[in-house]
Each structure stands twice: as structure tokens, then as C-alpha cells.
């Protein structure tokens, strides 16, 4: 049992950073944005008065949350080709992660919309706003403040969940670590380093969450 191979650490820092900056971070950002758009759509579907529309959204969320993300990625990447749909690793990863984030975040968005007091809807109606304008200008701005803590959770989970796409051959932080570690057999050093990178990213995000919450609560009574 040797100690830590500091030379290997030094040589690995940049390649791992590249895996983070070119894989993990863009995957996180892209899929979070797409997933959030999907989440708002699903939340509005759930809240619509139409039972078919809300039923579709409910079923979607149930299926996505009821099956493993890794399995969903495998279906998209390995199983869809048998139906004639062949996707490259990156598009597969983006689709799989976005569909997944959308389902989880939709519950946070729905809860936040429901948490906006009924009086806000009524006040908007009495000054003449239609439903759409009320949602866009009155309800969603207030709901977005309420949704920051649960959505921050979703984002932080997503950062780590992106590591699953290494299993469908997308080169991100974890896969980079695997590739460097394989010929050296020094898994401890490489996986340890990767863990530190993930942790630092999540630390930064937690810090950002606190800042954002403070900023958004400026005009709200304690």
C-alpha cells in the first residue's frame, strides 16, 4: 500500500478539470434549463382543470420518478436503436437527464404555484388581468422565490446524477477519472480527486442558493 501518488495527482488535475468543465458542467446547465422548462409545463398541466391534461402530467411524473435514472438512460441509448431510433451519447444524456429533472422539478414548481395566496389571483383578476398574464406577471414571479430551496436541491442532485451518463460513454468528470485510473490502477487517487471536484461544485451552488434566497426575500415580510 503506497501513499498518495502526488505526481499522478498533479498530472490528473487538468484532465479532470477538463472533464468537469467540458462534460459535467455543460450537461448540468443544459439539462437544468430544459428540465425547468419541462417542469413548468408539467406543473401547469397538473394544475389545469382538464382531467386528461392533468392525468398525462401525473402519469409522466409517476413513471419517471418510479424508475431508476440509469435505467432510463439505458433505454434511450441502448434500447431505442432496436426501435430504429439511434442517438449519440450526448443527445441521449441530455434527453434522459432533462426528462428526469423535469419530473422532479415539476413537483417543486407545482407546490410553489399553489403556495401563492389565492388573494393574489383575485387581485390580478380584479385589475383585469387574464389567466395567462396573472401567471406570468403575478404568480410565477412569487412562485419562483418559493421554489428556490427545493429547486436548489434538484440542481445539486443533478450535478451528481450527471455522473451516471458515464455509463453511456459520455466523457464527463467520472468517466475521465475512470479512464486515467484504468492503466495506473490508482483508483483511490482518481476517484478521490473526482469526489473533491464534485463537492466543490456543490459547495459553490449551496453558497449561490443562500445568496439568491437572501436577494429574493428582500421584499417579503419575515
Amino acid at each position: 500500500m503506497n501513499g498518495i501518488d502526488w505526481d499522478l495527482v498533479r498530472r490528473s488535475l487538468l484532465p479532470l478539470l477538463e472533464g468537469l468543465v467540458r462534460g459535467t458542467i455543460p450537461l448540468t446547465v443544459i439539462t437544468f434549463v430544459l428540465g425547468l422548462a419541462l417542469a413548468v409545463l408539467l406543473a401547469l398541466m397538473r394544475l389545469s382543470g382538464n382531467p386528461v391534461v392533468s392525468g398525462i402530467a401525473r402519469a409522466y411524473v409517476s413513471i419517471i420518478r418510479g424508475t431508476p435514472l440509469l435505467l432510463q438512460l439505458f433505454i434511450i441509448f441502448f434500447a431505442l436503436p432496436s426501435l430504429g431510433v439511434t442517438l449519440d451519447p450526448w443527445p441521449s444524456a441530455i434527453i434522459g437527464l432533462s426528462l428526469n429533472v423535469g419530473a422532479y422539478a415539476s413537483e417543486a414548481v407545482r407546490g410553489a404555484i399553489l403556495a401563492v395566496p389565492r388573494g393574489q389571483w383575485e387581485a390580478a383578476m380584479t385589475v383585469g388581468m387574464d389567466r395567462r398574464t396573472t401567471l406570468r406577471r403575478v404568480v410565477l414571479p412569487q412562485a419562483s422565490r418559493i421554489a428556490v430551496p427545493p429547486l436548489s436541491n434538484t440542481l445539486i442532485s443533478l450535478v451528481k446524477d450527471t455522473s451516471l451518463v458515464s455509463a453511456i460513454t459520455v466523457t464527463e468528470l467520472l468517466r475521465t477519472a475512470q479512464q486515467i485510473a484504468a492503466p495506473t490502477f490508482d483508483f483511490f487517487t482518481l476517484y478521490g480527486l473526482a469526489a473533491v471536484y464534485y463537492w466543490v461544485v456543490c459547495l459553490v451552488l449551496s453558497f449561490g442558493q443562500t445568496r439568491l434566497e437572501t436577494r429574493l426575500s428582500r421584499y417579503v415580510a419575515a
Partner: protein, 251 residues
């Protein structure tokens, strides 16, 4: 004599099996102030909210100006919002938009709903804020104001859409006693300017001094109505006398 500005006939509604309105008529001439009084659960707030479709009566009609809704025909969203656009509303809990400044609250109707010219709406909103004594608070957020100030912003917001009728739902009930006066004074000045107002209130002094007519409701019906000098001073009905007595002497 011309038709009254607002006319509601036969308003009927129940919550489940419990009837809350049992055929209520409200007739409001232009430029007059009508006060709805009565014990809690009497249906007065439900009447008020039926006038702008925040409640949906099962039967009865509401007409404001030349816009009418017959509730028995289950009118669609568009018909109800056409009626709602004829009035403005001041809520008991003010319901200001917390994420918007005072000025943006007041211009929310004109700009976001009526799509009027933004600069013009802002100028008009500043005039309204001046009128309710809050010209210096235009850039504040609602949370930075006192309850009385918030309610006065609510009044300015309701007036900004240039409604034909202003509906007040217990505008002072949620306020600390020392803040009630500033709101009532604003309402009194609006009445003097000729605004048509329907006010659900427990403020009997306001009703006596400002109202042109008072409707006393109990159990979902109008028990007694007339000028405040009659209904509030020499009520004919025993139920009205009893209610007023309790207000005067709660112990």
C-alpha cells in the same frame, strides 16, 4: 329618471347545502355610496363578490352600466371578465403584489391588463398616489408600508383601471384601530368626488356619515334598507335593532 348604474337582482347561492344568498337585490345609482352591513355569515361579502364574479351565484343577474350577466345561464369566462372590468376592488387583506413597487402595483391594471400607454399610466398612477397621500412611496415595496398605507395603495390600484364602481370588502377590518381613520378619510373623499361605491363594512360612523343607502343583511336576505338616517338610527326591524345594539354595546 335614468337607470341605476349597478343593478343586481335575485342573487342566489349556496355553499354545499347551506344557502348563503336567498334572493338578494342591490340597486346602486351612479355617484352614490351603498354600505352593506350585517353579522358575519350574513352573506354581505358574498353579495359584494358576486358583483364582480369572484363568487358565482347559482341564479340572479348583475348589470353594471350596459354589461350584464345572468348567472342562471352559467356565463363563460369572457362574459364574467367583461362584467368584472366594470368595477375595481379593495380587499380586506389588501392583496397588493409583494414583488412589485407601489407604483407598479398601481399601474398593473392599466399597463398589464388594459395595455394603456405606460408613461401615461405612470403619470396617472402618481396622481392617484398623491390623492391617497402616498406620493412619496411610489418606489417603496408593499412590505415597507404600514397597514393603512398598504390599504390606500390598494385603493389607488383599484381606481387606476378607471372603474365605474369601486367595491370595498371590509377595507378597515384587518387594520390596527389607529390606522382605520386614514383609510376611511380617503374613502370619504372619493365619495365626495362622486365615485360610485359599494362598501361592506362594520364602521357604522362611516356608514352614517358617507352612505346614501344602507342594506342590512342577515341569513342571506336583505332584512332592511334605506338611508342611514333610517336604517342605522331608527331601524324598523327587530333584527336590525339587535345587531346595532350589539355593535354599540358588545358586552
Amino acid at each position: 329618471m335614468s337607470a341605476p348604474l349597478l343593478e343586481a337582482r335575485g342573487l342566489t347561492k349556496s355553499f354545499g347545502a347551506v344557502p348563503v344568498l336567498r334572493g338578494v337585490d342591490v340597486v346602486v345609482p351612479a355617484g352614490s355610496v351603498t354600505c352593506l352591513i350585517g353579522p358575519s355569515g350574513s352573506g354581505k361579502t358574498t353579495v359584494l363578490r358576486s358583483l364582480n364574479g369572484l363568487e358565482t351565484p347559482e341564479a340572479g343577474t348583475v348589470r353594471i352600466g350596459d354589461v350584464a350577466v345572468d348567472w342562471a345561464t352559467r356565463p363563460g369566462r369572457r362574459a364574467v371578465s367583461a362584467l368584472r372590468d366594470q368595477s375595481g376592488m379593495v380587499f380586506q387583506a389588501h392583496n397588493l403584489f409583494p414583488h412589485l413597487t407601489v407604483l407598479d402595483n398601481v399601474t398593473s391594471g392599466p399597463v398589464l391588463a388594459q395595455h394603456r400607454d405606460r408613461a401615461e399610466a405612470r403619470a396617472e398612477a402618481r396622481d392617484l398616489l398623491e390623492r391617497v397621500g402616498l406620493a412619496d412611496k411610489a418606489d417603496a415595496y408593499p412590505v415597507q408600508l404600514s397597514g393603512g398605507q398598504q390599504q390606500r395603495v390598494g385603493i389607488a390600484r383599484a381606481l387606476a383601471t378607471r372603474p365605474r364602481v369601486v367595491l370595498f370588502d371590509e377595507p378597515t377590518s384587518a387594520l390596527d384601530p389607529e390606522l382605520v381613520g386614514e383609510v376611511l378619510r380617503v374613502m370619504q373623499s372619493l365619495a365626495a368626488e362622486g365615485w360610485t361605491m359599494v362598501v361592506v363594512t362594520h364602521e357604522m360612523r362611516f356608514a352614517r356619515q358617507v352612505a346614501d343607502q344602507v342594506l342590512f343583511l342577515d341569513g342571506g336576505v336583505v332584512v332592511e334598507q334605506g338611508p342611514p338616517s333610517e336604517v342605522l338610527v331608527e331601524p324598523r326591524e327587530a333584527r336590525t335593532r339587535q345587531f346595532l345594539q350589539r355593535l354599540l354595546d358588545p358586552l
